[in-house]
Amino acid sequence: MSAVMTHETSPGLWALAWRRLRRDRVGMVSLVVVCAYLVVVAAAALGWIAADWPREVGVNYAPPGFAGADAPPPQGSLTPLPTAAAADEPGIVDPLADVLAELRKGLAAAPDAQARAATLPLGGDKWGRDVLKKVVKGTETSLVVGMVAALLAVLIGTVLGAYAGYYGGRMDDFLNWIYSVFTSIPYLLLVLAIAAVLNQKGTLTVILILGLTGWTGIFRLVRAEYLKHRTREYVLAADAIGTSNAQRMFAHIFPNVSHVVLVQLSLHVVLFIKSEVILSFLGFGVGVETVSWGSMLNESQSELILGKWWQLAAATTAMAVLVTAFSLFTDALRDVLDPRLK
């Protein structure tokens, strides 16, 4: 009986991680949920769903279907707009008077206003827009903002952290100084400053604000990792064979640090999705041409006092489910990538 030696390469970090993840039930469920959300994002971005979210299909503040329609219209009193025509004033001539008179004659009688739905699946907002569609579109905006901003923050933090940790000395001091200054300034002021510099408001501005203020935590961690690794043997070996600094930093050390970076990326996606809500509250959120969870929550503040709770509920639920799933997934990721924890 001879044992045949099979050439089995030992599994790499990632393969091992994936195997371990498969065994973590909670982790797998969260991954599935996150993927489901990403599918929704893709569909919304391509315009397959919720593309007509700004259409006012319902009455103002239409309640959700399961709650039943409102009896009287929910607004306060409205003074009827008088129909008396304007009198002429002596000496004042309207250059457009003739044109308007002519056009009025040409216009047919006004068509009946389209009937608007009394209820909508998840309710309607103050203009009668479908909350379900808004939540879907909001998912796209919020997730895209969160992910792109997280990528940006990770990019900045990793590059700066790598330089600081690897080179040490003056470079480290300088970057540490920048880090101290950034972390000492109150968040509100930093946000305001960046928002004011980027004159145009909108989704891009939100991404930049989040990315440019959120890199500091990553910087610190990556720097610590690079400090640890640069004295290791494999780095000295790489030096001996004549690699450049850049190669050493990013081709050799980075793969060993990447698991930390990945976890940070995941954490920051969650953090930025939540920060976007605060930014909307401060008035630095996305513009009116789109909708995000933050803008929906902001709107719902004044609606709640009037008893209109559905926009708040919808946005909070959508966000809570995603953030929970993403956080649990991040935990699982951290567990499977950490060689220490059993």
Partner: protein, 312 residues
């Protein structure tokens, strides 16, 4: 130790300088012209010029910067451009309310989180552990804005258990009546993330050799957890709280705004809205200084307690 402290204190200077420069640049470049706000409904260019002169913003930049630096050194930032109240008075009077809400929030929140984290770490891997952790994650996934809105609506507005907002004159009323709901909201929001964090601290300790030794020596589990693990994990917990405090002071603007607490966070928000540079300057410098000091204290605490820690 002394040499280390002196070195760190000296390092404050370049950092503060950096902060001063950054704030100065930012405000002058994009801070908004307060003259227009102060000028009222009808203002002509002359009046605007006059206001700018009175505020001192018509002077060349290096003069203004020098004035700013002297202000930082003397600690006197002048008066608010909007109300003429002395900035130092603003701070003295707003600090109290901020702390009256923040400190109970931190104490209650930390204690509660510690207990939960200890419990969860003790029963690590069990169903209780997973259930509570998932519960924490869900709790953490709801925006603080939602907590504030809903808590205020349900507990104050509908049930009437707390005042919806406001602030009184004496300390005891403020502590018991007006701080109660803000503290409740703050604790609810921070409970989840803190529990998760402290759980990892506790777990780190539990995995240490000394715990295994203590168990081997026959020490009861409750004594192991309640005395040894707790004591050692208390350090990172306390430092975590300490480091958060300065940021919380300025960052509590949401809670202060909704509950009308005349604290520093609300003042910062007001100052930013009104382009009130003296107040913004003072807040930034104080918060920066506080952050540096508390970070230093945290490092020293670490060193004092754990001789293995090498201070760079």
């Amino acid at each position: 130790m002394t040499a280390y402290m002196i070195r760190r204190l000296l390092q404050f200077v370049p950092t503060l300088l950096g902060v001063v420069l950054l704030v100065f640049m930012l405000f002058n470049w994009i801070g908004g012209d307060p003259a227009y706000l102060l000028a009222g409904k009808m203002s002509n260019p002359e009046q605007i010029e006059n206001i700018r002169r009175q505020l001192g913003v018509d002077q060349p930049y290096y003069v203004q910067l020098w004035i700013f630096i002297t202000q930082v050194v003397t600690g006197d930032f002048g008066v608010s451009w909007a109300t003429n109240e002395k900035v130092s008075t603003i701070f003295a009077t707003r600090l109290g309310p901020s702390l009256t809400v923040l400190l109970p929030m931190l104490i209650v929140g930390t204690l509660l989180s510690m207990v939960m984290a200890l419990l969860v770490a003790y029963r690590r891997g069990s169903l209780t552990d997973r259930a509570i952790m998932i519960g924490c994650t869900v709790g953490q996934s709801i925006s603080i804005l939602v907590y504030i809105i809903v808590f205020q609506y349900v507990f104050a507005f509908q049930l009437g258990w707390f005042p919806v907002q406001g602030w009184g004159q004496d300390f005891v009323t403020n502590l018991i009546k007006f701080s109660a709901l803000p503290v409740l909201v703050g604790v609810a929001v921070s409970l989840a993330p803190d529990t998760r964090l402290y759980r990892t601290f506790f777990l780190d300790e539990i995995n240490q050799d000394y715990v295994r030794t203590a168990r081997a020596k026959g020490m009861s589990e409750s004594r192991v957890m309640g005395v040894h693990v707790l004591r050692n994990a208390a350090i990172p917990i306390v430092t975590h709280v300490m480091i958060q405090l300065p940021a919380l002071l300025a960052g509590a603007f949401l809670i202060e705004r909704f509950f009308s607490i005349p604290g520093i966070g609300r003042e910062v928000l007001l100052a930013v809205e009104r382009s009130d540079f003296p107040v913004i300057k003072a807040v930034t410098v104080y918060v920066a200084l506080a952050t540096l000091i508390f970070n230093l204290l945290a490092d020293i605490l670490y060193k004092a307690v754990d001789p293995r820690v090498q201070l760079k």
